[in-house]
Symmetry: C2
Subunit: 257 residues, 2 copies
């Protein structure tokens, strides 16, 4: 959707193709080089930073819609997307939307549109290696950034709350679901996976206990192979146990209480 | 909403008061006497069992809507309700709804209604002591039961999936949030809280480690008081640490990895 005509049709008749009252917002966490970031887009008409998002087609499964929106924005296909919360409480989510001004900023005069109505938002997050993502611009957005999770600016609407909730969910989930398969090299050192977990959790973890636990859970396996990274420094390499990993993804990690 | 006139108005004009395309389904878990059950309602027109649910008013915060629906059904106010998932994938959630037949069963002939449109559902769950709940019937439902979670019949629409997802979420959450304050007596024995956790998790827990962990987390405290329950049997009583409990509710239980 990039031409003036397409946008005009979307504003006037989009509700024939999309469900009204509902959007999807995606929080794309990116991990690279020991840092956890999120993808922000610059919305031209609002002159502000916000999350990638979009609408659900009238006959489209909800999770297909989330995948489509993610792919449109990032080119990423078949990424694990996790629904985490539906937002409908903040003042911004209770009233008609101030998108009239937005469209005026784009040069449209619209008296009435399905886009002005009250809209709840369903939040999804994903975790990707951001060095592999090619973000696309479109009519509504003209810039992007990967922003450190500890340094997020004031976002549009209630989206700071959306990001915060995604982060809390991701941090809880790390205790129940394995992560890292697409974020680490095939063979990695304990400090590498340790730093991934610390970046996500935003706190220090005891390195010894952490590694022991992952091995005890059967999620990673020590290889008979070392990596030479300096004089007298050749840490052992580890690998994910693919089967146990897939199983834990499906059924969750079983903790003892 | 109980008279024929009110229902007729709801079917024809309800979209003026409520948002279309969205419902709330509530999974009310009830714990009592070492058993975990869920509340099912008999929907007259469908001749089947289903969950309590309802619609969101046009200017109503989402979580207020969930509270209102719960209170309408159970008389329970200010209960902790947890949103857990929004359902929009199953075939039933993709197409127009077969509520036409439903309304014919109630004696209405309706050509077209906002209720026939595709509807996604936002799921909430609560955990209550079911001995304290007085379930109310209304025009659409004429019976209820507290059904064992291990013995749930085929429910309406995609609601078996809704219940399953609620149960999985509750079981994960029990590792991050304290539970039991409203389900156990003020002073309880270790076997009592142990059986509550086992009922929720649906599996056996090592009693020694379980108690140690709860004490180590600072969530419960051993009292200098015993309960005489038989000859030579007077187990020590425990109490929740209110402050630590409230704190953990807010910020989550911090595990070590």
């Amino acid at each position: 959707m990039n031409s003036q005509e397409e946008i005009d049709d979307f504003v006037r008749n989009g509700h024939e193709q999309y469900l009204p009252h509902l959007t999807i917002d995606t929080v794309i966490f990116g991990y690279h080089d020991q840092q956890l970031k999120i993808l922000l887009l610059k919305w031209v008409g609002y002159n502000g930073w916000g999350l990638p998002g979009g609408f659900i087609k009238r006959r489209e499964p909800l999770s297909d819609a989330a995948q489509r929106i993610l792919q449109d924005r990032t080119g990423l296909a078949s990424i694990f997307l996790q629904q985490f919360h539906t937002f409908g409480d903040s003042p911004y989510r209770l009233k008609e939307r101030d998108t009239q001004t937005l469209f005026e900023n784009y040069g449209f005069t619209v008296e009435d549109s399905w886009l002005f109505e009250r809209t709840l938002s369903i939040g999804y997050f994903a975790l990707v290696d951001y060095s592999k993502v090619a973000v696309r611009s479109d009519f509504f957005t003209n810039d992007h950034q990967w922003c450190d999770v500890n340094d997020i600016p004031a976002l549009l609407f209630d989206q700071n709350e959306v990001v915060e909730k995604a982060l809390v969910t991701l941090r809880h989930q790390i205790y129940h679901q394995p992560i890292g398969y697409n974020l680490l090299p095939d063979k990695f050192t304990l400090p590498e996976i340790h730093r991934l977990y610390e970046a996500i959790l935003g706190k220090e973890l005891d390195q010894r206990n952490f590694a022991k636990k992952l091995v005890a859970l059967g999620l990673i396996r020590k290889l008979d192979e070392q990596r030479a990274i300096g004089p007298h420094r050749s840490p052992y390499l580890y690998q994910f146990e693919k089967e146990a990993y897939e199983d834990a993804l499906k059924h969750g990690i079983v903790h003892t209480y």
